[in-house]
C-alpha cells in the first residue's frame, strides 16, 4: 500500500529539488516524491496520469515563485478542475507573506509552509508530507497560521 503514496512537488530551484529528494532518501522513502520544475509540468503530469487511469498523487506541494505557471496560478488551475480539485495542496514558500497566505487560503490550499533553514527540518517536512498522506499528520490551518503571523 505504501508504494501507492506519491507526492508531487513543484519547484523551479534545482537545489531545492535535490535537497528534497535527498531528504526523502534519508528517511527511506526515495520513491515517494515526484519532482517537477514548474506548474505546467504539474498539470502535464496529472493529465497524463489521469488519461492512463493511473493513481493520482496524494498530495501536491507547490513553490510559489516559479516561472511560466506560478504556485498560485497552478493552485487556481488545480482547484478549477473536477478531476484534481480534491487533491490537497500545500504551499511551500521561501518566505512568510501574509498577503500570499490570504490568497492561497482563498484559492483552496490546505496549508502554507515556509521552506526549512536546516537539514533536520527538511527531514521533518518530508516525513510530515508522507505521514499526512497516511493520515497520520495534519498541517496547521490557515487561520491559525495567519493569526500567528500577526
Amino acid at each position: 500500500m505504501d508504494n501507492t503514496v506519491k507526492i508531487l512537488l513543484a519547484d523551479d530551484d534545482i537545489e531545492d529539488r535535490f535537497i528534497m529528494q535527498d531528504a526523502f532518501n534519508a528517511i527511506n522513502l526515495p520513491e515517494v516524491p515526484l519532482l517537477v520544475e514548474d506548474g505546467e509540468k504539474v498539470l502535464e503530469y496529472l493529465s497524463e496520469t489521469h488519461r492512463n487511469a493511473g493513481v493520482l498523487p496524494s498530495l501536491v506541494v507547490l513553490d510559489l515563485n516559479m516561472p511560466r505557471l506560478s504556485g498560485t496560478q497552478t493552485l487556481r488551475e488545480l482547484k478549477s478542475r473536477d478531476a484534481y480539485k480534491d487533491i490537497p495542496v500545500i504551499i511551500f514558500s521561501s518566505s512568510l507573506n501574509v498577503i500570499e497566505m490570504h490568497e492561497c487560503k482563498q484559492l483552496g490550499a490546505l496549508s502554507y509552509m515556509v521552506k526549512p533553514f536546516t537539514y533536520e527540518e527538511y527531514l521533518l517536512s518530508a516525513q510530515h508530507f508522507y505521514d499526512f498522506c497516511l493520515k497520520k499528520h495534519s498541517f496547521p490551518e490557515f487561520n491559525s497560521l495567519i493569526n500567528n503571523f500577526k
Binding site: 537545489e15 535537497i19 521561501s94 518566505s95 507573506n97 521552506k115 533553514f117 536546516t118 537539514y119 500577526k150
Partner: protein
C-alpha cells in the same frame, strides 16, 4: 500727457484717492477732445466711473487662479512623494523578500556541513565555520527586521480608541521571560484611552519596555516606570528606566535604522527597535525622543496628538 499733445482721446484705469477715507478707489477715466470745424480742440469732455468692485473681483479671480495653480502643483508634489515613498517601501520589501532566498541556502548548507562534516576539519576550521553560521543567522535576522520595518505604513490601518493600560499589559506579557530573568519591576501608572493604531502601538510599547529591561545596570534591580502627562493638546507617554543610559550626543543616531550603541557581544540585537518606534510615532503624527546620562537610566518620551 501724450494724448493731450496728440489731441486724441484718452482712456485709463486709475486709482484715485478718496479724500475722506484716504482709500484708493479704482476708476475708469475717459477724456475725449471735442473739436470745432477747423479741427481745433474747443474743449474736453470726460467721465470718471467707479470700477472698484470690478477691479477687486478681477484681482480675486486672478488670486484664485494662482491659488488653484499652486494647489495643482502641490498635489503633483504630494503624488510624487507618495510614489517615491511607495517605491521605497516596495524596494525594501522586495529586497528583503528576494534576499531571503539565497540566504536560506547559505544557512542550510552551512548547517548541513556543520552537522555532517565538522569532525573532519581542524579546530580553526570549526571556529570559522561557527563564525560563518552565526554571520548568516545574523543576516537572516537583519532581513527579517528590515521586512518588518518596511511593512509599517499607514495603508489599511485604522485608528481605534484604545486603552493604553491594556496595551502595556499585553506588551509586558510578551516580555514575561525577559522581565522574570532580570527580576525587573515595571510600574505602569494609569494611562489614557486614545485613538491609535493598536498593533503598531503595542509593538512600540514592547520595544521600549524590552529596551528598558535589556539595557539594565548590573548594580541595581531594573525598575521601569510608565506614565502619561498632558502637554497642551498633546499626550506624552514616558518610559523611564534606571538602566545604563546613553550619551545624548547619540540621540539622533539611536532612532536610525540598524544603529547600535553597544557591541554585539555586550547586547544582542540588530538595532531596529528604536527605528521601528520612530516610524510608529511618525505614523501617529507624533514624535519620540529621549534623555539620559550614562549610568543614570534613560527616559523615552513619546508625544502623540490627542487626536492622532
Amino acid at each position: 500727457m501724450v494724448s493731450c499733445r496728440r489731441k486724441t482721446s484718452f482712456k485709463r484705469e486709475l486709482e484715485l484717492k478718496n479724500g475722506d477715507t484716504g482709500d484708493f478707489i479704482w476708476h475708469l477715466v475717459t477724456v475725449t477732445p471735442v473739436t470745432d470745424e477747423g479741427g481745433e480742440i474747443s474743449y474736453w469732455t470726460g467721465s470718471m466711473v467707479d470700477i472698484h468692485a470690478q477691479k477687486v473681483m478681477e484681482q480675486t479671480l486672478r488670486d484664485n487662479k494662482e491659488l488653484k495653480e499652486m494647489k495643482l502643483l502641490l498635489e503633483e508634489k504630494v503624488k510624487e512623494l507618495n510614489r517615491s515613498n511607495q517605491e521605497l517601501e516596495q524596494f525594501a520589501y522586495a529586497a528583503s523578500h528576494d534576499l531571503q532566498e539565497p540566504l536560506r541556502k547559505i544557512v542550510f548548507y552551512s548547517d548541513y556541513l556543520n552537522k555532517h562534516y565538522s569532525e573532519q576539519i581542524d579546530e580553526r576550521g570549526k571556529l570559522y565555520f561557527g563564525n560563518m553560521t552565526s554571520a548568516s543567522q545574523r543576516m537572516t535576522q537583519l532581513i527579517h527586521d528590515l521586512l518588518n520595518f518596511s511593512r509599517i505604513y499607514r495603508e489599511n490601518l485604522h485608528l481605534v480608541k484604545t486603552d493604553l493600560n491594556a496595551l502595556a499589559t499585553e506588551a509586558m506579557n510578551d516580555l514575561d521571560l525577559a522581565i522574570k530573568a532580570k527580576h525587573a519591576q515595571i510600574e505602569v501608572s494609569p494611562l489614557p484611552v486614545i485613538s491609535v493604531y493598536p498593533m503598531q502601538m503595542r509593538q512600540l510599547f514592547q520595544n521600549l519596555l524590552s529596551n528598558a529591561v535589556k539595557f539594565s545596570d548590573d548594580k541595581r534591580i531594573p525598575l521601569v516606570k510608565v506614565y502619561a502627562e498632558t502637554n497642551g493638546s498633546d499626550v506624552q507617554l514616558i518610559f523611564e528606566d534606571n538602566g545604563v543610559g546613553f550619551e545624548e550626543k547619540y540621540l539622533d543616531k539611536m532612532f536610525s535604522l540598524f544603529q547600535r550603541l553597544h557591541s554585539r557581544e555586550k547586547y544582542a540585537g540588530t538595532g531596529i527597535g528604536l527605528a521601528i518606534c520612530k516610524k510608529i510615532a511618525d505614523l501617529h503624527n507624533g514624535s519620540i525622543t529621549a534623555c539620559s546620562q550614562p549610568g543614570n537610566g534613560a527616559k523615552f518620551i513619546l508625544t502623540l496628538p490627542s487626536v492622532a
